[in-house]
C-alpha cells in the first residue's frame, strides 16, 4: 500500500469519512480508518459515554456499529470512490468473530487494508484482552492472516507492561504493520453525585494528554520490529506529527483532535509539507525514526 502522504485519520473518530466532507477534501489524506466494524451489529454502551478530562477525553462508545454485512452492503458503496485509502477497523470478541468479519471484507476491491483492533478497552469480552498478552495477540493475528491477503495492520493496546513484546509477536505472525496506540483505560467520577461519569465506569482515554506516552511507545516499537509503524495518540498539529515520525512512525493517524478541528488532518498535511521545504528534506521517509541523539 503506497500512501499519498503519511497523514491518516483514526478509527472511531472519523466515522466513514462522510461526516467530514463538508469541512475538508478527503482526497488530501493518506488514508481513512473507518469506525470499528464487528461481525454482528452492536448497540454499544449506554449513555453517558463521554467525559472531558484534562487535555483529553474518555469514551465508552463500545464499538457501536451496524455490523459488517451492513457495511458491505450500504456503506462500502458510499465510500469506495473516495480518492484516498479506506481502511476498515475490524473488531470482535472472539477469534472466530475477527476471522468471520475479515472474510466478508476480503472481496472489497477498494479496501486495501484492514486494521485489526485488538485493543478496544470498551467491550466486555475480547477487545483489549487480545492486545494485552503476546499469546492471544499472536493467535488472533495468525487466524486473520490466514484468511486475509491484503495489508494487515494490527492495532496495539498501550495498556501493557511491554508493548514491544506484543508488537514482535504480531510481526512474527505476519502482520504487515502495527498501529499504536489505542486508548488508555481510564475513569472519572463526579465528586458531587459520587457516580462514575461513564455508564461503564471505565473508558478509553485519548487526546493530547496521552501523547508523551504514545510517542514513547512508538519509539520503542520502531526499534523492536522491522515492519512499518503507524503512530497515533494526541496528534493535533504538524509538530506533533513530526514528533511521531521522528520517533519512528512511517505514517500517523489523527484521532480525537478531528472533533475539535474537523480540518486538522488537512492542516497537518500542509504543515508537514512546509516543514520539509523549510528543512530542505526531499521526502518524509527521510524523517522516519530520524530523531538525533546525544
Amino acid at each position: 500500500m503506497q500512501l499519498r502522504n503519511p497523514v491518516m485519520t483514526a478509527s472511531g473518530t472519523f466515522g466513514y469519512g462522510t461526516e467530514y466532507t463538508d469541512f475538508m477534501d478527503l482526497g488530501r489524506l493518506g488514508g481513512i480508518f473507518v469506525k470499528g466494524t464487528t461481525l454482528e451489529p452492536r448497540q454499544g454502551n449506554d449513555y453517558p459515554r463521554m467525559a472531558e478530562t484534562p487535555s483529553g477525553m474518555l469514551n465508552a462508545v463500545g464499538l457501536q456499529n451496524k455490523g459488517v454485512d451492513y457495511f458491505v452492503e450500504h456503506l462500502y458503496p458510499l465510500i469506495k470512490d473516495y480518492d484516498t485509502h479506506m481502511i476498515v477497523n475490524v473488531s470482535g470478541s472472539t477469534v472466530e468473530d475477527y476471522v468471520a468479519c475479515t472474510e466478508k471484507l476480503v472481496g472489497l476491491e477498494k479496501i486495501p487494508a484492514i486494521e485489526l483492533n485488538i485493543s478496544c478497552p470498551n467491550v466486555k469480552e475480547g477487545g483489549m484482552a487480545f492486545g494485552t498478552s503476546c499469546a492471544s495477540a499472536a493467535q488472533v493475528t495468525r487466524a486473520v492472516r490466514n484468511v486475509y491477503p491484503g495489508t494487515l495492520i494490527v492495532k496495539l493496546s498501550p495498556n501493557v507492561t511491554d508493548i514491544t513484546e506484543i508488537a514482535r509477536s504480531v510481526e512474527a505472525e505476519g502482520a504487515d504493520s502495527v498501529s499504536l496506540v489505542n486508548t488508555f483505560l481510564g475513569m472519572a467520577i463526579d465528586a458531587e453525585s459520587r457516580r462514575p461519569k461513564l455508564s461503564t465506569v471505565t473508558g478509553g482515554l485519548s487526546g493530547p494528554c496521552i501523547k508523551p506516552i504514545a510517542l514513547r511507545m512508538v519509539w520503542q516499537v520502531f526499534h523492536a520490529v522491522k515492519i512499518p509503524v503507524i503512530g497515533m495518540g494526541g496528534i493535533c498539529n504538524w509538530e506533533d506529527a513530526i514528533e511521531f515520525i521522528l520517533a519512528g512512525a512511517t505514517a500517523i493517524q489523527v484521532g480525537t483532535y478531528n472533533f475539535i478541528d474537523p480540518s486538522a488532518s488537512v492542516k497537518i498535511v500542509e504543515g508537514i509539507e512546509e516543514y520539509l521545504l523549510r528543512h530542505n528534506i526531499a521526502s518524509v521517509t527521510d524523517l522516519v525514526g530520524a530523531m538525533e541523539m546525544g
Binding site: Q43, Y47, V61, Q64, N258, P262
Partner: protein, 257 residues
C-alpha cells in the same frame, strides 16, 4: 455544515449568569440556512480546562444582518469564557448542526415550553412559526423573574405565560403546574430545558395524546456524527443526538418507559 470564524457584534449581560451574544461571520460570508432546533459548536480558546467544543443552540437568526444570536448560561469554564467574549472578539464555530423542530404544516394550537436556558431555541422556533402565520403560546419557567429571559422578544411572536419557583413572575411553581395547561388544549408541544422538566412535559403530552418534540442537551464530543458519544436510547436503538437530534419526538424516546 461549515467551520467559520465569527465576530462578536454585541454581548449583552441579561442577568448574573446569562449573556446574549450576537455574532456575524467574520468574512461576511452569507450564513447557510439554519433551522430552529439546530445548534452550533463553539471552539473555546484561552481556556485552560476546556478541551472540546461547546454546543449552543441557535437562539435567533436575523437574516438582514446575517447575524446569529446565542443565549449562553455560564455554568463552567467553557460557557464562562464565551460569556466574557469582548465585542469584536472572534469565535470559531461549526454551523449549523443537528436536525430541527418539525414546523407543522397543519393549523392548530402550539405550545412552546422552556425552562432555564432551554428557552434559547424556542425563540427562534416561535419566530419561524410566526413567519408562517402560526401564533403560539410560550410557557417559560425559571427560579425567579430575572431568569425568564428575552420576554419582550417572545411576546413579539405569541402569548407568554410564565412560572417562577419564587412566584416573582407569573404563577408560582413549575411549568407543568401552570393553569394554562388545564384550560387550553394544544395540538403540538415543543419543549427544551432541564430533563426532569422535559420528562414532565412529555408525560403531560403523552397522557393527552398531544404530539410533542423535545430538544435534548446530551453531552457531545464532536457534534457532527463522528464520535457516537451523544447517543440517546430510542425506539430505534441508540442514535446520535447531534445528527438525528437534538430534537426528538417524545414517542421515540424511552423516557416514559
Amino acid at each position: 455544515m461549515k467551520q467559520l470564524d465569527f465576530t462578536v457584534r454585541s454581548n449583552e449581560k441579561l442577568n448574573d449568569q446569562n449573556h446574549l451574544l450576537k455574532v456575524v461571520p467574520s468574512d461576511n460570508e452569507q450564513l447557510p440556512e439554519m433551522l430552529p432546533g439546530q445548534f452550533v459548536q463553539i471552539l473555546v480558546e484561552n481556556a485552560q480546562h476546556t478541551f472540546l467544543r461547546r454546543p449552543i443552540s441557535i437562539n435567533n437568526i436575523v437574516p438582514e444582518r446575517n447575524e446569529i444570536w446565542l443565549l449562553v448560561q455560564s455554568v463552567g469554564e467553557g460557557t464562562q469564557k464565551i460569556c466574557e467574549m469582548a465585542v469584536e472578539g472572534r469565535l470559531n464555530m461549526l454551523v449549523p448542526l443537528g436536525n430541527s423542530f418539525t414546523i407543522p404544516s397543519s393549523r392548530g394550537s402550539y405550545l412552546l415550553v422552556g425552562g432555564g436556558v432551554g428557552t434559547a431555541p424556542l425563540l427562534f422556533l416561535g419566530k419561524k412559526l410566526h413567519e408562517r402565520g402560526i401564533a403560539c403560546d410560550f410557557l417559560l419557567g425559571g427560579a425567579s423573574e430575572q431568569n425568564i429571559l428575552q420576554r419582550s422578544d417572545f411576546t413579539n411572536y405569541g402569548t407568554l405565560y410564565c412560572t417562577t419557583e419564587d412566584g416573582s413572575l407569573g404563577e408560582k411553581g413549575y411549568v407543568t403546574h401552570h393553569s394554562v395547561l388545564q384550560h387550553k388544549k394544544y395540538d403540538f408541544i415543543f419543549t427544551c430545558g432541564p430533563k426532569p422538566m422535559m420528562v414532565a412535559v412529555a408525560r403531560y403530552a403523552h397522557e393527552r395524546g398531544i404530539r410533542c418534540e423535545a430538544s435534548l442537551e446530551n453531552l457531545m464530543a464532536c457534534g457532527f456524527g463522528a464520535c457516537l458519544c451523544c447517543v440517546e436510547k430510542t425506539t430505534r436503538g441508540n442514535v446520535c443526538a447531534c445528527t438525528e437530534g437534538p430534537v426528538f419526538d417524545i414517542n421515540e424516546l424511552t423516557w416514559l418507559d
